[in-house]
């Protein structure tokens, strides 16, 4: 009978992915700070560079929650634990990236708009998204019964994601009816973005994507190991009662 101490060492592929992620982040940082030109003062000058991280974080966050959505559906259809694990992992990592978006946004906003927070469409939708998946994680930790956690979480994973476009659209519509403060144009598009800037942007996007894949793989590995340990403990307990 395998013991918990015989855990497989990290596969080489995973470490390579990690190295690639770190390298691409370093490259992106270089490009963002030294290759992309400084933006207009109205856009925040040097501070505008934060958008090279803000926007990719947002895209990756949405990607994560799309994964939660699909994995939740797969789990409800097949009942296979690996989909539940994927949904859980993607939700956790998605929250991390969403939090990054919510932090980088106000950091930029404060000097440029003079206020930490604006109820603009994108930030508000991101906040709703964040709260939805915080709720998802709370649900997972508060379920009374191990067996039902996956099912209940999957329902929230599905409903939450279906809500996202509706929330986004309604907040946007609400905002156009009640404009306040400076109008928020996306500072990374439409204002003279040349090749150096685009290169920096895509480098950053690549870096974040690799980072996401690496973190997700690590989290999945941890989850699988935890399941193995639990299974072995159950088998040990069962053997004792015989």
């Amino acid at each position: 009978m395998a013991t918990a101490s015989e855990l497989r060492p990290r596969p080489a592929g995973l470490d390579a992915l990690g190295a690639a992620a770190v390298a691409s982040v370093a490259a992106a940082l270089l490009l963002v700070f030294f290759v992309a030109r400084e933006a207009d003062v109205t856009m925040g000058g040097q501070l505008q560079r934060i958008f090279y991280f803000h926007v990719p974080s947002a895209w990756i966050a949405y990607l994560s929650f799309a994964i939660v959505f699909l994995a939740s559906i797969a789990y409800l259809r097949t009942g296979a634990g690996r989909w539940d694990l994927l949904a859980h992992a993607a939700a956790e990592i998605g929250i991390v990236f969403t939090t990054l978006v919510l932090i980088t946004g106000p950091i930029w906003a404060r000097p440029v708009w003079g206020t930490w927070w604006q109820w603009d469409a994108r930030l508000t939708s991101t906040l709703v998204l964040w709260l939805t998946y915080i709720g998802y994680l709370f649900l997972r930790s508060l379920a009374s019964d191990e067996a039902t956690v996956g099912r209940l979480a999957a329902v929230v994973g599905i409903v939450g994601f279906l809500d996202v476009p509706i929330v986004h659209f309604s907040v946007q519509w609400w905002r156009t009816l009640h404009p306040s403060g400076p109008t928020v144009a996306n500072p990374t598009t439409g204002s003279g973005l040349g090749t150096p800037e685009l290169t920096a942007f895509f480098a950053s996007l690549l870096a974040f994507t690799l980072l996401f894949c690496w973190l997700l793989s690590l989290r999945l590995r941890i989850g699988r190991l935890a399941q193995r340990v639990e299974l072995e403990e159950i088998e040990r307990a069962a053997a004792e009662t015989r």
């Binding site: 409800l76 709260l131 939805t132 709370f138 508060l142 009374s144 039902t148 099912r151 209940l152 009640h178």
Partner: protein, 227 residues
């Protein structure tokens, strides 16, 4: 004195182990703050109409919270005496169960609103502009979406610890579109808009889309929630 402190310490220690009260409370507070942020508009954006927006906000916040507490209760009904087990064994489609629960919840909400709306109009001197038809349309569309999400999530939360905190925590972010639409349309009504003006605002489309999506989702997913 020390005995009191010991007892208080006991509660704190239990919470540190169980972690099912303080953290959800914070989450709940965050979602409430979000909802209220929509209900209380910045004075600059609303101008003189701010009073109408605040009135609409009060009304719908009340319905929202009373409704959610009520929905939570309707699943308590099943817990006593193991009636839920009997219900699950009955040869009835789960979607039908969802619709039955949603209908009874809808009835509760309608009764609530029937009492609340005239009462608020009286106490706070609302002027609903005589466009009762439009008001009914708005309330009907909002209620359907509210009840669909509320029923589904109430059944879900009933199977967890801290269900009184978890239900609003989950439902409020999901209900943001309905809430915004309700606020906007009601505020417009209070400002004297008629049915056509309301329809032109575009909120009906969002409400209908929301209702369709979530009634369907509820009917389909209720199976997964109950099992």
């Amino acid at each position: 004195m020390t005995k009191t402190m010991w007892l208080a310490a006991k509660d704190l220690r239990i919470e540190m182990r169980a972690r099912d009260t303080l953290a959800p409370m914070l989450g709940f507070a965050a979602t409430v703050a979000l909802v209220l942020a929509f209900a209380l508009p910045e004075a600059s954006s609303a101008g003189d109409d701010v009073v109408s927006y605040v009135q609409a906000g009060f009304m719908w916040v009340t319905v929202l919270f009373a409704g959610l507490i009520g929905f939570g209760r309707t699943f308590e009904v099943e817990r006593a005496e193991g009636a839920l087990d009997s219900l699950l064994l009955v040869p009835v489609d789960r979607s039908a169960l969802f619709v039955s629960k949603a209908l009874s919840n809808l009835a509760f909400i309608v009764v609530l609103e029937t009492v609340l709306l005239p009462l608020s109009a009286l106490l706070f001197a609302y002027d609903l502009g005589g466009s009762w038809g439009a008001l009914v349309a708005v309330v009907a569309l909002v209620d359907v979406g509210f009840v669909a999400v509320g029923t589904l999530y109430a059944a879900l939360a009933a199977q967890t610890r801290s269900r009184e905190l978890l239900l609003p925590l989950l439902a409020l972010p999901a209900l943001i579109p309905v809430f915004i639409a309700a606020l906007e349309l009601t505020a417009d009504l209070l400002l004297g808009a008629g049915f056509d003006a309301l329809a032109a605002r575009g909120w009906f489309g969002i409400l209908v889309a929301f209702d369709v999506v979530f009634v369907t989702a509820g009917a389909v997913l209720f199976d997964a929630v109950l099992d």
